[in-house]
Amino acid sequence: MTVLHEPPPAAPPGTPPGEDTAPRWTPVCAYTDLLPERGVCALVGRHQIALFRTFDGELFAIGNHDPFSGAQVLSRGIVGTRGGSPVVISPMHRQTFSLATGACLDDPAVAVPTYPVRLSGGAVEVGAP
């Protein structure tokens, strides 16, 4: 099993020096709550974040919002690969998104946000913006 350790989120631009620049990691669930190749959604502040654990154990976090239908559903898509890279397919109208970059592979003009995610002890934490 390999677990990806993302760099902590950068401090928001314009943060005065000396302010709290430490990453704001939010624990959302236990690693074992995640089924391989099945997403869940975490509510962090106003943000709905779709979390995925791939077959080989890597963690990914992207926005839950499906830009094509407007519904908050990407966490409920099927997880798989396209050309070897991990993807999720929207359950609404079946567009494919890269888990690593958030890019929509069927429409280069569209992308969803990605979020840092890490494992801390047994807990999964996402880097909230």
Partner: protein, 825 residues
């Protein structure tokens, strides 16, 4: 070439057609298509509009007169039940039997032919019939009801068809043929012998080399038997004469038009008779010394005449009289010449196969052929008649010829509709056609007798449009191949399957397909272990996703039958959870607008009240709709509601390549619309007729009659086999309609009814396992805390509803408030 005046073709012309059979129907259709601006009046003798006589026999196995009837183009004045009794060529009028006189500028005779009845004593007794019209079939059916045995006089193509019909109506059937073999016009002696064995094996008594001396009456004055010219007496209550046809040229004769010595109205290449104002088309016409008794040439004549009436210069040339038929499961085909300098014969008396190719004396040009038992060479070689053989004749017979034989562009593939291979190829390339259905609708090829459909399929394959059967980038196999791999190798997980037979980690195409295969093979609950990750969102939440990310709930209501108490429970649940409520098109109730975390609460209430999952979300059995049937309906002949409930309970939860729908109607009025279903059942006096391959949706298709008058046990067995065979072999997301078109109805019949692949016991056992292992998916979820935990909007806030979901009220119910897309992108 059309005349180049600017008036619409035929403006002001009064065109009268005598007879309304297939030829007349094609004529009026071609005139309409060509923009004929004159007046068209058709005077027909039969009480109904022209129907497909080629498919006549299917009327006895469930197709209705409407099914067989051709559409009548707009503007055509159709007068039915009005035989024409005279033509006055001077005055240019025709007179009908009821004394009406109709003027014409152009007259078309399309009177067809009538069965020849040999002049023997007793031929008019009640119980004697001919086999040509729907009225004939109605009369035969009525007479067979009280009869034990029947004799068909004539062992040709139509005689065997009639014999098949009598057998289908439950009679012990005899065929009497004057010639030394059956189908003497199509097959030679060797072929006849093989054919005879096939026919006899099916229980028909064949008497060749003998004619009819007389038909004898019983004490009730009805037919009691037939005495052959050998003096043998065959006991029978029904006699059908099918000893050839005679062109109906009596009107032409009486009007002084030229007729042939042995009958037929003489026409030229433009279908004109000896009077330029009068055309003749179809089976009544004599062209170049030949009267054609096949639909193909008759329809071509109609098109030629229409073109001429429109000012064109089309010509009719000697037509292909190839025939291919499938009777009682025996295939017989003849094409091209009946004699040649050399012949190459292949004979397998054990397998019941006889094939002969006739070739020129240098053995290079194909002249014709005869096939009995296996007609593969017909499909491949018919277009090569008169051309260089594509391979050595022996090789062609043994191997069916090299794969991908290139039929020349100018060769005719469909003789019924006169369509060349080139035309089909052009349509494939020009319109991007990918299936036979497309070719049929664009070119008409394959729409009449259907015998060219295999050839069409070959052309499709040859054009390289054969859609790859690979499921997706992760598997090079088709769904059917994966099904076999999983079944034969006993694979139970996607991970093992993709590791051993695929690449990558799957996608939204292969994962649900494999999930469905595992489920069809009894893989346990669809959310167990790794299987959960294969399901698309609907199966994953056991509900249908809606546009705002909420789900719908559809409890099963077997057969659409529901008690008041249960109805009240549904109402209470909908009210308490604030759901939008709608009666679906599937005779049940949809509750919409549930958030994921509400689904288990809703289902707790429903399951406690005795409801179970309706699988509206699954590629599985949906509904078996029913009508009220014999319990309530004054017309009902069987208890359709009870059968629908039983079938829905039997097949509930059955996962399949696509959804499966069914319906049961209590009588032929068909209130349950069974013929639009994957399998539909219509009650008969004697039991149930089973129809398969129906579809609503994108490409509606009426189901085909599969088996008739089954008892309930027999019906269930056939449906078990049919469904399991479909589940094993269909492509992903292929409804039974498309699957049936691909497999061919006859093939599926052979597999399911005659067990030609020897797999029926296996199919039945597989269905029994499904029935025995069925459990309600929703109840299982409610009983499993691990599965229940997944029904939350947020993993870190299980109680919090998704704040993006909002509703407003419309017509007193909720409706989603959708976030405008521009704002979200």
């Amino acid at each position: 070439m059309r005349s180049s005046d600017h008036l619409p073709a035929g403006a002001g012309t009064r065109l009268v057609v005598v007879g309304h059979g297939p030829a007349a129907a094609r004529l009026t259709e071609a005139l309409a298509a060509g923009g004929f601006a004159g007046r068209v009046t058709v005077l027909g003798e039969e009480p109904r509009a022209a129907y497909d006589r080629v498919a006549l026999t299917s009327y006895l196995s469930g197709r209705t007169a409407e099914d067989l009837t051709y559409p009548v183009p707009e503007g055509v004045e159709l007068c039915l039940g009005r035989p024409v009794v005279g033509i006055d060529r001077e005055a240019r009028t025709v007179t009908t039997a009821d004394g009406h006189t109709e003027p014409y500028d152009t007259l078309v005779l399309a009177t067809g032919s009538s069965p020849f009845v040999p002049p023997v004593t007793g031929r008019d007794l009640p119980g004697c019939f001919t086999y040509r019209t729907i009225d004939d079939l109605d009369a035969i059916r009525a007479a067979c009801a009280g009869a034990r045995a029947g004799v068909v006089v004539g062992g040709g193509l139509l005689g065997l068809e009639a014999a098949n019909a009598l057998r289908g109506l439950g009679l012990t059937t005899h065929v009497v043929e004057m010639a030394g073999r059956l189908m003497p016009r199509q097959v030679d002696e060797g072929g006849g012998a093989v054919l005879r064995r096939h026919i006899e094996a099916l229980g028909l008594a064949v008497h060749t080399g003998t004619g009819v001396r007389e038909v004898v009456a019983g004490p009730d004055g009805r037919v009691a038997g037939l005495v052959t010219s050998d003096g043998e007496t065959i006991e029978a209550q029904v006699v059908v004469f099918s000893a050839g046809v005679r062109p109906r040229d009596e009107l032409a004769r009486q009007a002084g038009l030229a007729v042939g010595e042995r009958g037929g109205v003489v026409v030229d290449d433009g279908m004109r008779t000896s009077d330029p104002a009068v055309y003749a088309v179809g089976e009544c016409a004599l062209h170049d010394g030949v009267v054609y008794g096949l639909a193909g040439p008759c329809l071509t004549m109609a098109e030629v005449a229409a073109d001429r009436v429109l000012g064109g210069e089309a010509v009719f040339t000697r037509a292909d009289t190839s025939t291919r038929l499938k009777l009682l499961g025996v295939e017989v085909a003849q094409f091209g010449a009946a004699e040649g300098a050399l012949d190459v014969t292949f004979m397998d008396p054990v397998g019941g196969v006889y094939q002969k190719l006739l070739v020129s004396d240098d053995a290079r040009t194909l002249l014709g052929g005869v096939c009995v038992g296996d007609v593969a060479p017909y499909d491949t070689l018919r277009p090569f008649v008169g051309r260089d053989l594509p391979a050595a004749p022996g090789e062609l017979l043994f191997t069916g010829g090299p794969a991908g034989l290139d039929v020349p562009d100018d060769a005719q593939v469909c003789s019924c509709n006169n369509v060349t291979a080139g035309r089909v190829r052009a349509a494939i390339a020009g319109e991007g056609l990918t299936d036979v259905a497309g070719i049929k609708s664009r070119t008409r090829a394959g729409t009449t007798c259907g015998s060219c459909v295999p050839a069409l399929r070959k052309i499709l394959a040859g054009a390289g449009v054969e859609v790859s059967t690979a499921l997706c980038e992760h598997f090079t196999h088709s769904r059917a191949e994966l099904f076999d791999i999983v079944r034969v190798r006993g694979i139970t997980t996607f991970s093992r399957l993709i590791a051993e037979h695929g690449t990558g980690r799957g996608c939204d195409v292969c994962k649900p397909a494999v999930a469905s295969i595992l489920a069809s093979l009894g893989g346990g609950h669809i959310l167990d272990g790794e299987q959960a990750a294969l399901q698309d969102t609907n199966d994953h939440f056991l509900a249908n996703i809606q546009r705002n990310g909420t789900y719908s709930v559809v409890p099963r209501v077997p057969g659409g039958e529901i008690t008041a108490d249960r109805l009240i429970v549904i109402g209470e649940v909908a009210r308490d959870f604030g759901l939008y409520t709608k009666i679906t098109g599937g005779q049940r109730i949809d509750l919409l607008g549930a958030r994921v975390e509400q689904l288990p609460l809703i289902w707790r209430r429903l399951v406690d009240a005795g409801f179970e999952s309706g699988h509206a979300y699954g590629k599985a059995l949906r509904t078996v709709k029913s009508c009220v049937g014999s319990t309530w309906c004054r017309y009902g002949v069987q208890d359709s509601a009870a059968l629908a409930v039983a079938l829905e309970l039997r097949y509930r939860g059955l996962r399949s390549p696509h959804k499966i729908k069914s319906a049961v109607s209590g009588c032929a009025r068909e209130c349950a619309e069974a013929r639009s279903k994957d399998f539909g059942i219509i009650a008969t006096e004697k039991g149930w007729n089973l129809y398969v391959g129906g579809n609503g949706g994108f490409s509606p298709r009426h189901a085909d009659l599969f088996a008739a008058d089954l008892d309930t046990g027999g019906l269930v067995r056939v449906v078990d086999r049919f469904l399991m065979f479909y589940i094993r072999t269909a492509d992903r997301l292929q409804r039974t309609s498309a699957w049936l078109e691909q497999q061919g109805l006859d093939h599926v019949r052979r597999v399911v009814l005659e067990d030609s692949l020897g797999i029926c016991a296996d199919l039945e056992a597989q269905m029994e396992r499904h029935v025995a292992s069925y459990t309600d998916e929703w109840r299982a979820v409610l009983d499993d805390p691990g599965k229940l935990r997944r029904f939350v909007s947020f993993v870190n806030a299980p109680q919090t509803p998704d704040p993006s979901i909002a509703f407003e009220t419309e017509r007193d119910q909720i409706k989603p408030v959708l976030i405008p897309l521009e704002a979200t992108r």
